[in-house]
């Protein structure tokens, strides 16, 4: 499998939109905590779902540097290429 930042970002957005509270017009540049009003627990729980879909684990220390949806996508792609 060769995921790209674009494809992972699209998948994350699709997953986010399953939550009715998330604004409909989000894109890859949206900041997860600020723009989507997720608290840190909500972010960790959401990332867990993405991890399971993509069969990857994102260590919590990496989450500290992630602000936008594209940041998360880039981190996941990097982790997958490493493994």
């Amino acid at each position: 499998m060769s995921e790209t930042v674009e494809s992972v970002s699209a998948l994350i957005i699709q997953k986010l939109l399953e939550n009715p509270k998330v604004p409909r017009d989000i894109d890859g540049n949206c900041k997860i905590m600020e723009d989507l009003a997720f608290d840190s627990l909500a972010v960790m729980n959401f990332v867990m779902e993405v991890e399971d879909t993509l069969d990857v684990s994102v260590p919590l220390d990496k989450l500290a540097d992630i602000r936008t949806i594209n940041d998360l996508a880039a981190c996941i792609v990097a982790l997958k290429n490493k493994g």
Partner: protein, 403 residues
Amino acid sequence: MTSLFAKFDGTASALGALVQAGGRNPFAVVIEKPLSSTVGIIEGRETLLFGTNNYLGLSQSERAIKAAQDAVAKYGVGTTGSRIANGTQSLHRQLEKRIADYFNRRDAMVFSTGYQANLGMISTLVGKDDYLILDADSHASIYDGSRLSPAQVIRFRHNDADDLYKRLKRLDGTPGAKLVVVEGIYSMTGNVAPVAEMAAIKRETGSYLLVDEAHSFGVMGEKGLGVAEAAGVEADVDFVVGTFSKSLGTVGGYCVSDHPELEFVRLNCRPYMFTASLPPEVIAATMAALEDMQAHPELRTQLMDNAARLHAGFHKIGLNASRQVSPVIAVTLEEMGQAIVMWNRLLELGVYVNLSVPPATPDHRPLLRCSVMATHTAAQIDQAIEIFRQAGLDAGVLSTATA
């Protein structure tokens, strides 16, 4: 100029709303005077204590009180130093030996609090290339330990052994040791960890296992050693962490292990090294409380009977209480407004419990967290249930038809 305190604006408005809705600050309750382990004076009234974690009632143990008095008279009130400098007296080593012997383990480290025991062990055991695998609902001291450690931190779904297995399997082939951390009884919900399944996974994947028995020590297992003893998997637990501040009624934390390297952990563990050790009277009282606990196994039976009584009573009146019977019983409410009104009514009617609000609760719903004691009488428990019924009706949590 940017205010240093702007970051507390959210806290200020949330607290303001809480106080306005209920009339008092739920995080500033003062127990003016404890009358016994189960009753204290709050706002001038005698109040039943159902939220103190004092599972065996040993904060009021006569043996412990006497031991503390004797130790103070003999040794003074403090050690004025770190465990690795001038802060280790014979009493500290004696307590470590007693704890290790009671767990039938090679050695024990005693810390100044349970919080520091988790902070210290978790941050010290795992290095840069290692992995920490935490239950998602872990206590703050476990999360804080993970932040202090240089390791890669991965969460698994709460109490979900399959999820733990999946996440460990994903790490197959990656270098670095893996340390799995779980709690015996989860502090907020009273959920008991499926520790036998987790021990099997640990064995299969070649990981290490640390169990925080903070709420299960003195409570579960034949000798009161916690969930690992109750499940018969003590041998698979590499590190047991615990606290003296719950079933033993004093203060302090510990870690016991058979790994001889614990000796070196002492010299690398910042929350152990860079803080003063426990004062002699606390150590002496803790040893006495441990003797009480050993001498009175019936306290555990009484505790579980009491927990079952409160649990059944809550379910009977229609409250959404924890599924499992354990000395921590959480009543989950749907929204904050109800929770605030009900918690305040409980206190006015004479029962103190803990109000836990999101994000400190697992699923964004507020909890009325109760802890049961061996020393509660059946009459006190029945009275608490009746007060819960009344407060539930007043808060609109229960309706007259069901309660």
